[in-house]
Symmetry: C2
Subunit: 576 residues, 2 copies
């Protein structure tokens, strides 16, 4: 069975029951169908417990797929199974875990095949609804963002009282569609009655600053405050114009009216019956790539452990989670799980994608040699995550093609380095397949009483350049940073305008520690070139762009949409 | 209290109870929050009853506001009150009525102040949710439509196998935002990797053919069939290219995947406790302007009478309902209610908007003279609607400024012509205020057993030109039709390609019987000029454009968005 069939064959619990078991009172539940609900956090009783946050991250992604979401879901189920097991560790007996994941974007669903709800027997369900419109959050974000853009162009059209230089408007409109032809456009054509002509474009909703703000906001007030800080463009005198400058008292109020319900986290269940929040989904590239802080903090009030993930590898998503998300959310991460796969490490070790699935040679000498070479990638991620002061566990996510020899070699390698590791067989076996990883995790998890040892790599007094330098040298393993002349100018401008204290959100290829996607493994001595520094005061960071970053994906030659259909009874085919 | 305050002060019944009373089984209900639900029509038992359809339409709209939706809601409540009254007419005792209305569009909500959920004590609720994202239908339609557009441009980008001439692509992208600056754009800039540059634009979601298809479809299969017929553009040899021609087997499957849940009608309640469907909302101008056929036909299975409305005046919305919607939906309308107001008729009689609210002179001679002059507008709408073979009732919607003398004069005028009429005081009194109109309506309503006398003004063998001629002379009261050279060419093309049998959807200013919005009253002898004929095979009609039609509204100088806010507890201010 494929993911869609496994999901369809499952018997789902009513979301009211899931909520009840999770300790969510009935009055806090806003149902969307029978298996999804928003949770009105204002209706939750008291401050609740202070759930420990476990971050699931991974090695550099490869075309082979690593299964980070799948491990996040399976591990949550495994932790809950373990808590109820006869031989549960004392520290974990009777405890609960909850998952917090990002919402899928419609663009990729209809573009390249692939959902974002886990896989096999480690899925959040109902997967079809979650992958389609779900509870409408991304539509609300798209609407709020495009309302802002319409208000900006209306301001230009109505006399431009704020003296915004139209050439400086960096804000692009958004669609949750992969639509290459909207990347670069000219809008406002048609003469005096039809607005002001200017160059502009569209990005996918998950790439907008509105999405980043939505995910970083701790509540409605913080949401409005952050929205009001978004820079629209600059005056002819180069002064920033913000959302708060528009209209009578800013556009953040109207935007928040469109976002207020979306901001409530979405409760669903895993196939193993665990409660899960699936909420928000910013790009892991030009944004921080983690689910909403609202969802994680609500889950911390309900469960002893919240298992969450961050996009791409530990060098991008992991670093940002530790240095940006955890700070904004006010939750010190308690442990990190790094997902590694035999296949991804073999690719990192120089094996060609074509050789991955040839079968006979798996586990033989060439295969183990590639694995041995590629494990350097895992090694660097392990060192990096350990530097944040948080215990690290390796979950070797099993693929059907893996041999015992390969899996043994990899877990053995971890053991020799003193790193707790276990094979996770979650696609095929769900929570049962994650029990070993769950045990390793519980062994290293600080008890409730203890403080997490977490600390950011940055100190508050660091400049933007120092923060970039820190990430490049300490996380990527590079020798240093160079700036293009344009980026150098922007850096000076940030200093001059007093933004130099902001955290930095690195935008870099996810495939490599370097800014070149073709350089795999654990390269050294390289220079990272910063080409652009984008100020995002709403999100509260400066985006440092290295290489080219695509904020509006295109459709492939044969989009996933081509194979999709729905029959007269509403049965969908071809979704995954 | 204003509309928002009245709505907020009301105690709403759980939607499950509303459904139960309406005869909807629990298993057919898909809740969205506690007071809104989608109804899975497949789970409804048996064919149910054959509810009679009552159309609420009006005189030509004026800036004074007529309150058609308000009367629709109030009349539904009035009918249900009357059925339970001690002195209920025999034919109506114990019967039930249900309302079927269009969904509001977000664009106008944030543009010009004003909701679309009725007003005062005649509202569908929860009004705030219905006016904001509701159950996400319009977002689903926007997504499906923009997916189609992205697939079309991807086709051009990938080699244009279908040989579509990019200059012929009439399909525009859609947003549910008032955004003037997107009316005329150039897309696909940036060179070979960024698609194909071409002129294009955006329209508001309610103006798309996808929305018209959504509202006219009788089910999922019909939806796909209609979508597949939408013309994207033409080949370099001028042959039409349709949605069904895209990809492996057309794009209608993927579009329907995005629309399948949206197609289920949305159940809410009125302030008077009646069940109401609020579903779909096509433009009443370039489309037919009525709620979805799915909603009306589902309501017919549940109630004895379905009260529904069509956009703009009886010359536009009424005509299209009788000649297009009723035919597509397979329901012969049983009666028509024409909403008239003293204020609108005085404007039609030549009074200036500034003089409307001066107070002292209301009901005096100048006021009655204007009313007497303006009533010609009502007279023509009465004749028009009577021509469809359906009994007509006039509801005089009371405004606070109206005097008894004016109201008496107007109802007296109707009585002298033998037209059943009564004052509706629904804003202030809800269903109680509609009891008199309800009695008039019940008196003329054909009994269940009887056939409706309804017939279209068109016969099947009429050509497009003959259909236009019929509407212009018999409904508008014009002397004839002229075509611009471009429209004449299009007419010839329709004949040559075999589309000449299609119904016609007239696009005309709503303010006048003529194609000039400044000509009020009941003008005669005028010529209507057809400037453009747009083929819409998905909707199943040809749009005949007279005058200029705006398919993407703009924001006013001070948009409604400027006054909106939400506090930390989620309380919205400034929405209406």
């Amino acid at each position: 069975m494929n993911d869609a069939e496994i999901s369809a064959a499952a018997t789902l619990e009513p979301v009211a029951d899931v909520a009840h078991r999770a300790g969510i009172p009935a009055e806090a539940l806003i149902p969307y169908g029978h298996h999804m609900a928003k949770v009105d956090t204002a209706s939750l009783a008291g401050p609740g417990q202070n759930g420990r946050v476990v971050l699931v991250t991974g090695t550099n992604p490869t075309p082979a797929g690593e299964g980070k979401s799948t491990v996040t879901v399976g591990l949550t189920d495994g932790l809950n199974l373990l808590a109820r097991a006869d031989d549960a560790p004392d520290a974990w007996a009777g405890k609960t875990a909850m998952a917090a994941l990002r919402e899928p974007s419609l663009g990729p669903v209809f573009g390249m095949k692939g959902g974002a709800t886990g896989g096999g027997y480690a899925q959040v369900v109902p997967m079809e609804n979650i992958n389609l419109h779900f509870t409408g959050d991304f539509h609300a974000i798209t609407s709020a963002h495009n309302l802002l853009c319409a208000l900006v162009d209306n301001h230009l059209h109505r006399g431009n009282e704020l003296r915004i230089d139209p050439r400086t408007i960096a804000l692009k409109r958004a669609l949750d569609t992969n639509d290459r032809s909207l990347r670069q456009t000219i809008i406002g054509l048609g003469g005096r009655t039809e607005s002001v002509p200017r160059e502009s474009g569209f990005e996918i909703t998950v790439a907008t600053e509105t999405m980043a703000v939505f995910c970083l906001a701790t509540g409605l007030e913080d949401l409005k405050e952050r929205l009001s800080r978004i820079i629209i463009g600059r005056t002819y005198d180069r002064q920033p114009v913000t959302v708060g400058d528009l209209g009578l008292h800013g556009a953040q109020g109207a935007m928040a009216v469109l976002l207020k319900d979306a901001l409530k986290p979405n409760l669903v269940q895993t196939l193993g019956g665990s409660a899960a929040f699936v909420h928000g989904g910013p790009f892991a590239n030009i944004a921080h790539g983690a689910n909403s802080i609202t969802a994680t903090n609500t889950a911390r009030r309900l469960a002893d452990v919240v298992v969450t993930e961050a996009g791409f590898g530990a060098d991008l998503g992991g670093q940002k989670f530790m240095d940006i998300t955890a700070v904004a959310g006010g939750f010190p991460p308690a442990a990190t799980v790094i997902v590694a796969t035999v296949r991804a490490l073999k690719l990192n070790g120089g094996m060609s994608p074509e050789d991955l699935d040839t079968g006979a040679e798996h586990g033989d000498q060439p295969s183990l040699e590639a694995l041995e070479a590629g494990v350097a990638n895992l090694a660097r991620h392990l060192e990096n995550m350990a530097a944040y002061g948080v215990p690290v566990v390796v979950a070797v996510n099993r693929f059907p093609q893996d041999t015992e020899a390969e899996l043994d070699w990899l877990t053995g390698w971890c053991a020799r380095r003193g790193v707790p590791a276990a094979v996770a067989d979650v696609w095929a076996r769900g929570g049962e397949g994650a029990l070993k990883v769950a045990r390793r995790l519980v062994e290293v998890l600080p008890a409730e009483e203890e403080e997490s040892g977490w600390h950011s790599l940055w100190t508050d007094d660091m400049t933007v350049a120092e923060r970039i330098e820190t990430v490049v040298t300490q996380i990527y393993g590079g020798a240093g940073v160079e700036y293009t002349p344009a980026a150098r100018y922007q850096l000076d401008q940030l200093v001059a305008e007093g933004w130099d204290h902001l955290p930095v959100c690195m935008a870099k290829t996810q495939y490599s520690f370097t800014d070149d996607p073709a350089v795999l493994g654990a390269p050294e001595g390289f220079i990272v070139t910063v080409r652009d520094l984008a100020l995002r005061p709403g999100a509260g960071f400066v985006v440092a762009l290295t290489g080219s970053v695509m904020t509006m994906p295109g459709l492939p030659r044969t989009p996933a949409a081509d194979s999709m259909d729905v029959d007269s009874s509403g049965h969908v085919t071809g979704l995954f």
